[in-house]
C-alpha cells in the first residue's frame, strides 16, 4: 500500500515537473503575443504561423550545419526583422482601419503563411538532422528528457530577459508608456510608430527563440503553430491581456493543466481543461488572474 502511495506521488511530482517545463515554453510563445497586445491592442492571429516560420528557418540552418541552439540568435534576428517588415508594410495599415481590420488582417496572414508553407514545403514533417540533447536525464527518481529540460530552461531565461528589457530599459519604458496611453506617450515625444514596430519585431523574435528551442523535440510542418497559438491565446487571457508576469503565471498553469489532464483524464481530453479555463476566466474575470481593470 505504502509503495503504491509513494509511486503515485513520484508520478505526480514527475508530471508537475513536466507540466512546469512545458508551461515555460508556452510562456515564451505567449509573452510575444501579450507584448504586441499590450502596446498596440492587436491580437496577432498569425502568431502561431510566426512560430512555424521560425521552426522552418531553424530547420534550414540545421541543414547547413548550424544546429538549433547555435542557430537560435540567428533565427531570433531573422524573425525580429520579419516582424518589423510585417508591421511597417501591413499591420500599420490595419491599425488605421476599423477595429475588426486587425482581426481579419492577421487572420488573412495566418491563411497566407500556412498556404505558402504548404506550397513550398508540403505537409511533410521536417526535423533538424541530429539535434543535440536527445538523451534522458536521471535525477534520483526523476527521469526528464534532456530536450524538455533545455527547452524549459532556455524559455525561462529568455522570458526573464524580455521582462528585464521592458522593465528596466529606456525603450522598454517607452513601450509601457505607449501601452498605458498612446496619446499621452505621443505628447511626451515618443515615436509611437517606432515603438509599435519594435514591439511587433520583439513579439516575433520571442517565437523565433521558442521555435528554435521546440525544434529539439518537435518537427516543423505547416500547421505546427496552430496549437501553440491557441494555447497562447488562453495563456494571455488567463494572465490578463498585455501582462508579461501574468503570461508567465498563466503559461505554467496551462502547462500543468495540460500535462495533468492528459495523464489523469486521457490524452484526447488534455485540452478540455485548457479551453474551459479560458471560458471561465474571460466570463468571470476578464482582466485576467493578475490583470488590473
Amino acid at each position: 500500500m505504502a509503495d503504491a502511495g509513494v509511486e503515485a506521488l513520484s508520478i505526480l511530482a514527475q508530471l508537475i515537473v513536466a507540466g512546469v517545463l512545458t508551461g515555460l515554453v508556452f510562456a515564451l510563445v505567449s509573452v510575444g503575443l501579450t507584448l504586441v497586445y499590450g502596446v498596440m491592442d492587436v491580437v496577432n492571429f498569425a502568431h502561431g504561423e510566426f512560430l512555424m516560420l521560425a521552426m522552418y528557418v531553424a530547420v534550414g540552418l540545421a541543414l547547413i550545419g548550424i544546429g538549433p541552439i547555435v542557430g537560435l540568435p540567428l533565427v531570433v534576428i531573422a524573425l525580429f526583422l520579419f516582424g518589423i517588415v510585417v508591421y511597417r508594410v501591413f499591420v500599420r495599415r490595419l491599425l488605421a482601419g476599423p477595429p475588426e481590420a486587425t482581426v481579419f488582417g492577421t487572420f488573412g496572414l495566418l491563411v497566407l503563411m500556412q498556404g505558402l508553407a504548404q506550397a513550398i514545403f508540403t505537409s511533410d514533417y521536417r526535423s533538424a538532422p541530429n539535434p543535440p540533447f536527445q538523451g534522458t536525464l536521471h535525477l534520483g527518481a526523476f527521469a526528464i528528457p534532456q530536450a524538455t529540460l533545455v527547452e524549459g530552461i532556455g524559455a525561462i531565461v529568455l522570458t526573464a530577459l524580455l521582462f528585464a528589457f521592458v522593465e528596466f530599459t529606456e525603450t522598454g519604458r517607452a513601450m509601457r508608456a505607449v501601452a498605458e496611453d498612446r496619446v499621452a506617450a505621443t505628447l511626451m515625444g515618443i515615436d509611437v510608430q517606432r515603438i509599435n514596430a519594435l514591439a511587433f519585431g520583439i513579439g516575433a523574435a520571442c517565437v523565433g527563440a521558442a521555435g528554435s528551442l521546440l525544434l529539439l523535440s518537435n518537427p516543423a510542418y505547416p500547421t505546427v503553430g496552430v496549437q501553440y497559438a491557441l494555447t497562447a491565446f488562453v495563456v494571455v487571457a488567463l494572465g490578463g491581456f498585455g501582462s508579461i508576469q501574468g503570461a508567465l503565471v498563466g503559461a505554467v498553469l496551462i502547462g500543468l493543466l495540460e500535462v495533468l489532464g492528459g495523464f489523469y483524464l486521457s490524452p484526447e481530453l488534455k485540452l478540455v481543461p485548457v479551453y474551459l479555463a479560458y471560458l471561465i476566466v474571460v466570463l468571470l474575470r476578464p482582466q485576467g488572474l493578475l490583470g488590473r481593470r
Binding site: L94, G97, V111, G115, T122, A237, L271, V272
Partner: protein, 330 residues
C-alpha cells in the same frame, strides 16, 4: 430593394436553367457547392457581420445538421427530419454558448468561439454514439423520400431553395427592427444600451437563426457527400473556410457571402485545373493574400466597397434627392 430581388431572381433562373440544361455532373456539383457555401457564408455573416461578433467556430452548427442527417439515416429515419432536428440542436447550442459569450467584445468573443468549437469537437471525437473519429458513411438509397439522388440536378434545386430563403431572410433583416438594433449595437453598444436595446436578446436571436441556417447546409452536405466525420465538418479548418467566404465578399452586406462563395469555388476549381489538385496550399495563398489586401486597403470587403463607391457616385449626382438615395442604397 428591386435591385436585390432582380439579382436573386436572375440567380434562381440561371441555376434552374443550369440544373436542367447542363448534364455535366462536375459543373452541377460546383454550382451546388457554390450555393451551399453562399448559405454558410450568409449564416456566418449574420453573427459576424451584422451583429459584429466575429466567430471562428461556426463549423459546429454546420456539423449539427451533418451529424443529424447521418444519425437519423443510420438509424432508419428519414433524412428530412434532420432539418428540424439539426436546426433545433444548433439553436440550443447557439443559445447555450451564446448566452454567456455574446457580451464579450472583439477578440475575447472570437477566441471564445474557437474554445467552444474545440470542446464540441473533442466531445464528438470521444463519443462512441457519434462514431468518434471514424464518422459515418451513409448508405446509398436514392429518391426524394431519402433526400438522395444519383444526378446532381435535384441537389442544385434544393440548395437553390435554401439559398433563396436565406437571402430573402437577410433582405428582411436589413429592414427589420432586429437589423436596425444589431447595426446600432455594432456602431456603439453603450449608446444602444442606453436607449433600451437589450444586446443579449437581439444578438441571441441573430445567433439562433445563423446556427439554424448553417445546420440546414450541413444536412445537404451530408446527403450529397454521404460521408461525415470530424475533420470534414467540424474541424477548425472548416470554420476558417466559412469565415474566409464571409470576409472576402464583405461583412454585413446582403451579397458579400455569395461573392465570397463564388470566388472560393472559382479558386478551388481554378487551382485544381491549373496546378493539379487542391490541398497543396496554392488556393490558401491566394485567399490569404486576398484577405490581407482587403483588410489593409478595403476593410469593407468587395461588396462593401462597391456599395460605398456607388453611394458616392449617386451622392455626387443628386445631393438634393437624399431620402430616395438612402432608400435605394439600403
Amino acid at each position: 430593394m428591386r435591385g436585390h430581388l432582380l439579382a436573386l431572381g436572375s440567380i434562381v433562373v440561371v441555376s434552374v436553367a443550369a440544373a436542367f440544361g447542363v448534364h455535366d455532373q462536375v459543373t452541377l456539383e460546383l454550382l451546388f457547392t457554390f450555393l451551399l457555401y453562399a448559405v454558410l457564408g450568409q449564416s456566418w455573416n449574420w453573427i459576424s457581420g451584422y451583429a459584429g461578433n466575429v466567430s471562428f467556430g461556426h463549423a459546429i452548427f454546420f456539423a449539427c445538421g451533418a451529424y443529424a442527417a447521418a444519425l437519423l439515416v443510420t438509424h432508419g429515419f428519414s433524412p428530412w427530419l434532420a432539418f428540424p432536428a439539426g436546426a433545433l440542436t444548433a439553436v440550443v447550442l447557439a443559445i447555450v454558448s451564446g448566452f454567456p459569450t455574446l457580451a464579450l467584445r472583439g477578440h475575447y468573443f472570437s477566441i471564445a468561439t474557437i474554445a467552444v468549437a474545440a470542446l464540441v469537437e473533442t466531445f464528438v471525437h470521444t463519443s462512441s454514439w457519434l462514431n468518434g473519429a471514424n464518422g459515418f458513411e451513409l448508405p446509398i438509397r436514392n429518391g426524394w423520400a431519402n433526400l438522395q439522388f444519383a444526378q446532381k440536378t435535384n441537389y442544385v434545386l434544393i440548395a437553390l431553395a435554401l439559398f433563396a430563403l436565406v437571402q430573402l431572410g437577410t433582405l428582411a433583416l436589413e429592414r427589420s427592427r432586429l437589423g436596425y438594433y444589431l447595426r446600432a449595437l455594432r456602431a456603439n453598444h453603450g449608446a444602444a444600451a442606453s436607449v433600451g436595446i437589450d444586446e443579449r436578446r437581439w444578438k441571441l436571436i441573430a445567433f439562433a437563426w445563423s446556427a439554424a441556417m448553417a445546420s440546414a447546409a450541413g444536412v445537404l452536405y451530408a446527403q450529397d457527400t454521404l460521408f461525415v466525420d470530424p475533420p470534414s465538418v467540424i474541424a477548425l479548418s472548416v470554420s476558417i473556410d466559412i469565415a474566409l467566404i464571409g470576409v472576402v465578399g464583405g461583412l454585413g452586406t446582403v451579397w458579400g457571402p455569395a461573392v465570397g462563395a463564388l470566388i472560393y469555388v472559382a479558386l478551388a476549381k481554378g487551382v485544381a485545373l491549373q496546378l493539379g489538385g487542391t490541398g497543396k496550399g496554392y488556393d490558401l495563398v491566394i485567399y490569404g493574400a486576398l484577405i490581407c489586401v482587403i483588410a489593409a486597403w478595403r476593410p469593407r470587403g468587395i461588396v462593401g466597397s462597391l456599395v460605398d463607391a456607388l453611394r458616392r457616385r449617386r451622392g455626387a449626382q443628386a445631393v438634393d434627392a437624399s431620402p430616395a438615395i438612402a432608400e435605394r442604397a439600403a
